[in-house]
């Protein structure tokens, strides 16, 4: 039986994580796979730490990924990559947005995040998704930049991703989102 692929996405409420995981799930479902996607609504949206679990394969049971079993750990924010780093599988891939968002209640960003990340995930692909989103035309397109970046590490064709993006994002923003996806895909391949 084809094994289950686990994609763990983390970030900060408001960064558009749920849209990214929706698009990934759409792509997997369109391939006829069993898909489960899990996140928690409510408190998490208020600027807190947000995670989304996406699992797909021939038959998926639990809707959540177990620790040390994420094939791909994607984080929209650096601290949030380190917070969930124990989810990554030994041979897993880490893709991180090089963005720092100061947690509320703290006056400054903690200093030891880069060091912790380079120790726990020395081969992480780190991209500046905010800069690329701005280049695409909207700072809020960080999520599609990240989608492009991590799409390199999943076996779906570029066309399938683009179709899923077009179907999900508001019509007015399709162009910006496709550009953001392309920029992310290029940056994440490195």
């Amino acid at each position: 039986m084809q094994r289950t692929t686990n994609v763990f996405i983390s970030g900060v409420g408001g960064q558009g994580i749920l849209l990214a995981s929706e698009i990934l799930s759409d792509v997997a479902l369109a391939h006829g796979l069993d898909v489960k996607k899990s996140e928690v609504h409510g408190m998490a949206q208020r600027g807190g730490s947000v995670v989304s679990h996406v699992r797909f394969g021939e038959k998926v049971y639990s809707p959540v990924i177990a620790e040390r079993e994420a094939d791909l750990l994607v984080s929209f924010e650096k601290m949030e990559a380190l917070r969930w780093i124990h989810y990554i599988a030994p041979e897993g891939t880490v893709v991180v947005n090089d963005q720092e968002i100061v947690p509320s209640g703290m006056e400054r960003y903690p200093e030891d995040i880069d060091e912790g990340l380079s120790r726990r995930a020395p081969n992480a692909h780190i991209i500046d998704a905010l800069a690329l989103a701005n280049e695409a035309g909207n700072a809020r397109a960080v999520n599609t930049v990240m989608l492009g970046a991590f799409s390199n590490y999943l076996e779906f064709a570029e066309e399938d991703w683009k179709k899923a993006i077009e179907a999900r994002v508001p019509p007015k923003t399709v162009e910006i989102n496709l550009k953001a996806f392309a920029l992310g895909r290029e940056a994440g391949a490195r």
């Binding site: 996607k37 928690v40 600027g47 049971y61 177990a66 380190l82 995040i113």
Partner: protein
């Protein structure tokens, strides 16, 4: 067609396909989206938000009396509010099918406790249905209505947060209409005077035995053959975790777990030396096995009772795998959003050294530093009674130091009686309604104070001031929540008033008025003295730069719709960007 649906969407779809005609609820995480999705079928299903779960339950019960399939949804603690009608709803369902959906919250992602509502089925002596993914949710909604109508009973349909919010594939079907049954007056069934209630109790006990027989062979309870040496019993979402933790085991999967199919379980357990029971929170299944003398089981002595499970916790419980190695990272708790109207009240209370009994909603986040604005939060509506109680225990002057803070939706839910109590029992209490004119915490649902119904129709709008006056609260007034000086003056006046006062702090939820957001405020770093006053607002958009001076993140600040930071800055260094 195969689509991805959350468990909540699947309940809505199940209600649609299985001929439901009336659906009611009060919003609450994790069950809110059930009614939000049912409204998509409003041509076929009448649906409404009720002011609280008790009323939602009673409206639904009335609809079932009226002969149509009816569903009522609530979060787990909502069923406490509706427990009074629940416990005496024994004969409902014999007319139109009646299904009660409870959204439990293991892990307390957005709740004040971790109660396991499966016990409510046992307590109220009604059947319990537990699906384990969205397809089962949709299918079991139909099964639950059939059980309800066949046995003339309400059915408790138990979901948990992961089921409610996880999206899994579902095959869609068509709607099958179920005709309304003609109402016939029968006081022996629906008027529970003691003479009737005594007979009804006997009837309910007999009915439970019948349903237990049914549960023994119901397809909702099934054995999944696997390794003949490993037996596992599980239900609900825990089944999925157990499936991953024991991929090859033989399973007894329970979908109708009360009344308990004890003979099925006894036969299953007899096949194994030891049977593993995997359930989240309480040992509901395990207790029933042990009560029946089945003792070759291992459950809560290994599986954690507190918190949410997952497959690795289940595996570790039985000796597989190690604790993960977590990195130490500062927490990132949820906080009041940038532009939140509630911030001014907590900031002001904090500056004036006044505490608050509080309530359930976004504003509970006022407890977080630096606002530190809350002394107590227990359950919906508790703030006002708590404040009055403090005053009666410590003395009238204490009301100057402790106010009650409650949201608009929560006030309508169960704060109105508290306010009547404060006025009636001559409290010096100050009650503050944080009125953002929506149920915000759960994602913006209407309520009797908003002037709109779930089905999108304009309707009457509750007037808090007129209501308070009619209760005898002479000092009741509205305040602009974005005017820091007005907020301060109002709180001082109200706490000085020796009688009950009501302040309605008005300001729309920032997330409701996105279209009015403007460019971010800016800090004049030349003028900023790094005093940190603006940081005391606890706004996620404000932090300090290397010199300790304020910086406003342009991605987070909502601009001129708020402006609280500019008002509190003592050197006036924060302002709206100059219009070019």
């Amino acid at each position: 067609m195969r689509v991805l649906l959350s468990g909540n969407e699947a309940v809505a779809r199940g209600c649609y396909e299985h001929g439901v005609k009336v659906a009611t609820a009060y919003p609450g995480t994790p069950s809110t989206e059930i009614l939000e999705n049912i409204v998509r079928y409003k041509d076929d299903i009448y649906c409404q938000w009720s002011p609280n779960e008790k009323v939602a339950f009673e409206v639904a019960m009335g609809a079932a009396f009226g002969g149509v399939r009816t569903m009522v949804a609530m979060k787990h603690v909502g069923l406490n509010v509706a427990a009074d009608p629940l416990m005496t709803s024994t004969s409902v369902g014999g007319d139109g099918g009646f299904v009660i959906v409870t959204g439990d919250d293991p892990g307390m992602h957005s709740s004040q406790n971790e109660q396991d509502n499966r016990y409510y089925a046992k307590f109220a002596k009604i059947p319990l249905v537990e699906p384990s993914d969205s397809q089962e949710v949709k299918d079991y909604v139909g099964a639950a209505f059939e059980i309800s109508e066949r046995f003339g009973t309400p059915v408790l349909f138990r979901l948990t947060t992961r089921l409610c919010h996880a999206k899994t594939p579902v095959e869609l079907g068509e709607r099958t209409e179920v005709e309304r049954k003609e109402y016939e007056k029968d006081t022996t069934l629906r008027v529970v005077i003691p003479a009737h209630a005594r007979r009804l109790h006997v009837k309910v006990e007999g009915r439970l035995k019948e349903i237990a027989k049914f549960a023994e062979t119901s397809p909702l309870n099934r054995v999944e053959e696997g390794d003949p040496s490993v037996g596992v019993i599980s239900s609900g979402i825990a089944y999925q975790y157990a499936r991953d933790a024991f991929p090859d085991a033989t399973f007894l999967k329970l979908g109708l777990s009360f009344p308990f199919p004890i003979e099925l379980a006894r036969k299953f357990c007899a096949r194994f030396e030891t049977v593993y029971i995997v359930e989240e929170n309480e040992p509901f299944v395990e207790e029933q096995l042990r009560y029946a003398g089945i003792t070759n089981v291992v459950g809560k002595e290994k599986v954690p009772l507190c918190g949410e499970l997952n497959q690795s916790i289940v595996a570790r419980s039985f000796g597989g795998g190690e604790e993960p190695d977590r990195a130490a990272v500062a927490p990132r708790p949820p906080v009041l959003c940038p532009g939140c109207p509630h911030r001014s009240t907590f900031f002001t209370l904090n500056r004036l050294g006044i505490g608050a009994t509080s309530d359930i909603g976004c504003y509970t986040l006022g407890v977080m530093p630096p606002l530190n604005g809350i002394d107590t939060t227990i359950c919906m509506g508790a703030s006002i009674g708590n404040a009055l109680g403090f005053e009666k225990a410590i003395g009238r002057d204490f009301a100057k130091k402790m106010v009650a803070v409650i949201g608009d939706s929560t006030f309508v839910h169960s704060g109105m009686t508290g306010l009547a109590d404060a006025a009636y029992n001559k409290g010096a209490t100050t009650v503050i309604i944080l009125d953002n004119s929506i149920t915000a915490m759960t994602g913006h649902q209407d309520h009797p104070g908003t002037g709109m119904t779930l089905m999108g129709e304009p309707t009457t709008k509750l007037d808090y001031i007129a209501l308070a006056k009619s209760m005898g609260v002479k000092d009741a007034r509205r305040v602009d929540a974005f005017d820091m000086e007005a907020v301060k003056v109002a709180i001082k006046d109200a706490t000085d008033n020796p009688e009950t006062s009501l302040l309605v702090m008005e300001g729309p939820c920032a997330l409701m008025v996105r279209k009015t957001w403007t460019k971010a405020f800016v800090v004049d770093t030349e003028k900023c003295t790094a005093c940190g006053m603006c940081l005391r607002l606890g706004c996620p958009a404000i932090s300090r730069d290397e010199d300790g001076k304020a910086v406003i993140d342009p991605l987070f600040c909502v601009g001129e719709v708020c402006g609280m930071c500019a008002q509190v800055c003592p050197v006036e260094c924060i302002s709206a960007p100059a219009k070019a």
